[in-house]
Amino acid sequence: MMTWASGWLIYGLTGATLIGLGLFGFASHTNLLRRILAFNVVGSGIFLVFGATGFRVPELGADAVPQALIITGIVVALSATALAVSLITRHASLSGSATLPDDDREDR
């Protein structure tokens, strides 16, 4: 039980920060694995915002609907990550590069 009235807001604002951090990582790296990692940071930031807004009245406990949807979201994000990681390793073994072709050129 939280004593500070707007404890949820701390977590909500943390989630908002994580969204920005993750999006920055997603767009600023050319390494594909790093981009997928950053995508997962954005996802968990969004979930944290979602969960925090479901805990605005601590006396009533956490809203079950956001919790259930977050679990769904975590599983969906894992599915996307699994497909992405397989694509990335396949791409790396075929092309010898950890980036998309255009980005590769920029690096050299």
């Binding site: 920055f24 997928i36 397989s86």
Partner: protein
């Protein structure tokens, strides 16, 4: 006072670790920080009294995602350092940083402006949980109020698996999934792989069973079972299955198909997904058990990757 101090410190740590994961100097460091990040976020979920989410975040968000990323990192060894990628050019970087900061700020402003007494659907869930067949409100939402989402979610996992398998070489089709593993007979890993599965099995099954009244459920339990299976496979206790094994494919879809069948059977009780209150508990438990097994096998196969073995291992 001490409570909110704890929250502030935890949130500062989460942001710091996330920053390290996003901008870590080398890829390996970044991945390790990401796993730590996931575990800290799981603690945040405990503070928000979302224990089901904490379990899912720790097992799936940090654990399995981390394993996937580390596995891919292991495959990057043959790549030239020059082709490992870098940052985008500085002007672009500045634009991205500004846009990301702007979005964070906008979301923050919206959060501050929200009604601080917003109840969401808490009253609606409380009013209807008695008819849902279970006592854990999260399970009630997942398997009754919004069962359609959960069915589709379990299918998303299977689609991802089909997608991963599609990345195999044509010639590897029909082979065993994953790369050939070599394990020292009676080595540490193998004895670890023999000791842990019974305990893991017990914990996984407990999570599935407890999900109706306490935190836990098919996805969290299934993930633990998947970890047990992966560990046993890595320890060489059983060979990975073949991609065209009929029993394997059946076990992957058994959970979703039972779920769909129950959903369709609901039309006899008044509409798709309708669960009559007196049968709801039994049906939900049955779906959870079979779904957990299918999820466990699907997750394990997702981590093992497409078939790559050229020969059957010893």
């Amino acid at each position: 006072m001490i409570d909110s101090l704890f929250d502030l410190v935890l949130c500062a740590l989460i942001i710091f670790v996330a920053f390290a994961a996003v901008s870590g100097r080398d890829l390996f460091t970044a991945i390790v920080f990401f796993i730590v990040y996931g575990l800290m976020v799981a603690i945040a979920w405990l503070r928000l009294e979302a224990i089901d989410v904490a379990l899912a975040e720790a097992a799936i968000g940090a654990g399995l995602t981390g394993v996937l990323l580390l596995g891919a990192y292991g495959r990057f060894k043959n790549i030239d350092a020059a082709r490992m990628g870098s940052w985008v050019p500085l002007p672009v970087l500045i634009v991205i940083a500004l846009a990301a900061t702007g979005l964070s700020a906008a979301v923050g402003v919206v959060l501050i402006a929200l009604d601080p007494n917003g109840l969401g659907l808490i009253p609606a869930v409380n009013a209807n949980i008695a008819q849902s067949g279970v006592f854990n409100p999260v399970t009630a939402v997942l398997l009754n109020f919004r069962a359609y989402d959960t069915l589709l979610e379990s299918i998303v996992l299977v689609v991802a698996l089909v997608g991963v398998w599609t990345l195999a070489d044509n010639s590897a089709w029909g082979q065993r999934v994953g790369k050939t593993q070599s394990v020292r007979a009676n080595g540490v890993l193998q004895s670890f792989g023999r000791t842990l599965p019974p305990i893991g099995l017990m914990i996984g099954i407990y999570f599935v069973w407890a999900g109706s009244s306490q935190p836990g459920g098919a996805f969290q339990g299934g993930t633990i079972l998947a970890a047990v299976g992966l560990l046993s496979a890595m320890a060489g206790l059983f060979p990975p299955p073949r991609v065209n094994d009929a029993r394997l494919r059946l076990s992957v879809i058994a959970g979703p198909i039972l779920f769909l069948a129950v959903a369709i059977a609901g039309t006899a009780w008044g509409g798709m997904f309708v669960l009559p209150a007196d049968l709801a508990y039994g049906l939900i438990l049955a779906i959870e058990i079979v779904l957990a097994l299918s999820i466990a096998i699907t997750l394990m196969l997702l981590v093992l990757g497409p078939p790559e073995m050229t020969e059957t291992p010893q």
